[in-house]
């Protein structure tokens, strides 16, 4: 006698209870708070906000806690929450030239107006596990008088000589929104940058790396990486001017790439652009490399490498989509598997029979 497996509902309930239990870890150890995650795992929060497309530190920290530190899961939680939020309006474009700079480095000029500002960085640290970090009271940071004047962007300085392509002109058209409209390829740079900003850091890192190794070599220089606070403004129809809603932290990377000129474009530097919420420097740099690679067709270059292939890059960069489809392989597939099993048995029987016949001859 055979009893069919039942009790899916109870099994799911129990699995979720067990997961909640394990999430808490050892009850003898104090529980981590969202505020602690926000403050002490700040770069994880930055990544979740960036790829979750929602600037809310507390919510991202809570999502990381709920996801037990699985950042892709936390990004998914933030995205699903974001999907239900009402749209109250669109802000003015951010003006990163008016950033209150905390970090600013350029690889293209030794010194430049505004100077090089290292800020909080892992760069030049010795990657030695610090056994004394737990319970360690950090030193007071070195301070300097805050800089009052705006720091010009390196690309703007180059622009004065006409040696770099200008920023695309604002043609007044509304930027697209891939979360509200289905994509139809080829897509514009606006949607591409939106997709890359939401895209998986690891995927973009690997693609950006591939362009450095010759798969769409684009001769990049890190023209500038800047991180700091920018004001977010919204235009109020009734008032007739923009008002500030607050400030957010962003990281911007402008790659400067060699370009020999093509068609009616003179020899000049071209740009790749990366922008993230918070301090996601690796992501911003990788994004800028991939953005530049994806401009191949626009700039009249050969499209031959994976990083230049718009449909390939954009359709596979979203880790919420990718993780869902990869992980769906866990779901039952026994109907299809049964169909394949049946076919394989038949093909195998025919093959065996043929082999037997051949041996007999």
């Amino acid at each position: 006698m055979y009893v069919a497996v039942k009790g899916g509902e109870a099994a799911i309930r129990n699995a979720h209870r067990l997961m909640a239990h394990e999430r808490r870890g050892d009850p003898e150890v104090p529980e981590v708070s969202a505020a602690q995650i926000d403050g002490q795992l700040a770069l994880a929060v930055d990544r979740v906000m960036t790829e979750g497309s929602l600037y809310d530190r507390g919510l991202a920290a809570l999502a990381i806690k709920q996801a037990r530190g699985d950042l892709v899961e936390a990004i998914f939680l933030v995205r699903a929450f974001r999907a239900t939020l009402p749209r109250l309006g669109a802000t003015e474009p951010l003006d990163t030239s008016n950033m209150a700079i905390r970090r600013r480095v350029s690889a293209t000029f030794k010194d430049l107006p505004g100077g090089q500002i290292l800020g909080p960085t892992f760069d030049y640290t010795h990657r030695l596990i610090d056994g004394a970090l737990d319970g360690f009271a950090p030193p007071e940071p070195a301070t300097a008088a805050p800089r009052e004047e705006a720091v010009p962007r390196v690309t703007d300085l180059l622009g004065e000589e006409g040696l770099i392509e200008p920023s695309p002109r604002d043609d007044g058209s509304e930027p697209g929104d891939l979360t509200r409209e289905p994509l139809a390829f080829p897509i514009g740079r606006d949607l591409r940058l939106q997709a890359l900003a939401r895209g998986d850091e690891g995927f973009l890192l690997a693609l950006g790396y591939s362009t450095q190794r010759g798969f769409a070599r684009s001769h990049p220089f890190a023209g500038e990486i800047r991180m700091g606070e920018v004001e977010v403004e919204i235009f109020v129809e009734e008032l007739g001017f923009a008002v500030t809603l607050g400030t957010i932290t962003v990281t911007e990377c402008q790659m400067v790439n060699q370009f020999k000129g093509a068609g009616d474009a003179p020899p000049q530097f071209t740009r790749g652009y990366g922008l993230t919420f918070g301090h996601c420097e690796r992501k911003a740099m990788a994004m800028a490399l991939v953005d530049r690679a994806l401009r191949a067709a626009e700039l009249g270059e050969d499209v031959s490498a994976p990083a230049q292939d718009e449909e390939f890059v954009i359709m596979h960069s979203d880790n919420v989509e990718a993780t869902g489809f990869v992980e769906h392989l866990k779901l039952p597939h026994y109907v299809d598997f049964q169909s394949e099993l049946d076919l394989l048995r038949r093909l195998r029987a025919e093959w065996d029979a043929a082999a037997l016949k051949e041996a007999a001859q």
């Binding site: 009893v3 509902e9 507390g58 449909e311 993780t323 779901l331 076919l343």
Partner: protein, 302 residues
């Protein structure tokens, strides 16, 4: 602060989606019905369940369901598979609709990988969860290319692929997600149902809607539409056949799951459609392993 936001937002709209999203999905559904078999792009939303786990079907169901509906959700033909349980629970929670496991009682049936054995009627809507809506995807990975092929009704590569199967295996080696032609125009992926179920799509009295959330496509087969599985004159389409009846209800001519009973080669075949099988057993039908029914309690799940 954000915790407060997260907790105060427990009240969602009926069926979870906001009305503007529902309207966009509804417009896509109407175009899908008007152009049978054509994949309509839609702005698929990020749902509180993973992409690839039925978000397309869930969005279609959420856009059409009302308080008078009775919902049935199946996965692999069964109502009690874990993902079917989770999706049914979602609609109970966000739409408070009546649910059933009985095919005949349902007004909307959301399914993954099967068409119920009980013939559907004109008052029912079958909503398929679709992972890859593009039947040409495995021949041509680019949407930009497949869209052109559909525009030109150029399905030559598909026929070549099927014919290569015949040359190599002596038959078409596609056993599920077997492509069909809808009303003589669009080649369509019926979703990964076994080809056993393909004939049920043809001239079906119920409306059939297909939702692919991750791939952001909706398509439809209106009632009584001609749906033909691709084949060749000398190699006509042939659905799977099972040599033995269901071990529990004795049914023949239905799709069976193979169940491994022990590590000595013992196995049996049982209906994949649990409601159909239960209905037959309740009516007194018995298969070879169902002679001595035991109350099946809540066992360990797999």
């Amino acid at each position: 602060m954000s915790e407060a936001i997260a907790t105060e937002r427990t009240a969602y709209n009926f069926a979870y989606l906001d009305e503007q999203t529902k309207r966009a999905i509804r417009r896509a559904i109407l175009k899908a019905i008007a152009i049978p078999g054509y994949q309509v792009p839609f702005a698929s939303r990020e749902m509180p369940m993973p992409r690839g786990w039925g978000t397309g079907g869930v969005q279609v169901t959420a856009a059409i369901i009302g308080p008078d509906d009775v919902l049935k959700v199946i996965d692999q033909g069964a109502d009690d598979t874990t993902n079917a349980v989770a999706i049914r629970g979602f609609f109970t929670r966000v739409a408070n609709v009546a649910t059933t496991t009985r095919t005949v009682e349902a007004t909307i049936i959301q399914t993954r990988h099967r068409v119920p054995e009980t013939p559907l009627n004109a008052d029912q809507i079958l909503v398929y969860q679709v992972p890859i809506p593009e039947p040409l995807r495995f021949l041509e990975p680019r949407e930009t290319e497949t869209r052109k092929l559909h525009a030109l009704a150029d399905y030559g590569t598909m026929h070549v692929k099927l014919y290569e199967d015949i040359a190599h295996f002596g038959e078409i080696a596609t056993t599920y997600a077997y492509p069909v032609t809808v009303d003589g125009r669009y080649v369509m992926d019926p979703s990964p149902i076994p080809k056993f179920d393909n004939p049920k799509l043809d001239d079906c009295p119920a409306l059939q809607l297909f939702g692919a959330g991750r791939e952001k496509r909706i398509y439809a087969v209106p009632p009584h539409t001609r749906v033909v599985s691709l084949d060749f004159e000398d190699h006509p389409f042939a659905p799977q056949r099972f040599t033995e009846p269901c071990a529990l209800c004795g049914a023949t001519g239905v799709f069976l799951d193979e169940v491994i009973l022990d590590d000595r080669g013992g196995r049996m075949f049982v209906c994949s459609d649990t409601d159909f099988c239960n209905g037959r057993q309740a009516a007194g039908h018995r298969g070879r392993l169902a002679g001595n029914p035991i109350e099946s309690g809540e066992g360990a799940d797999v």
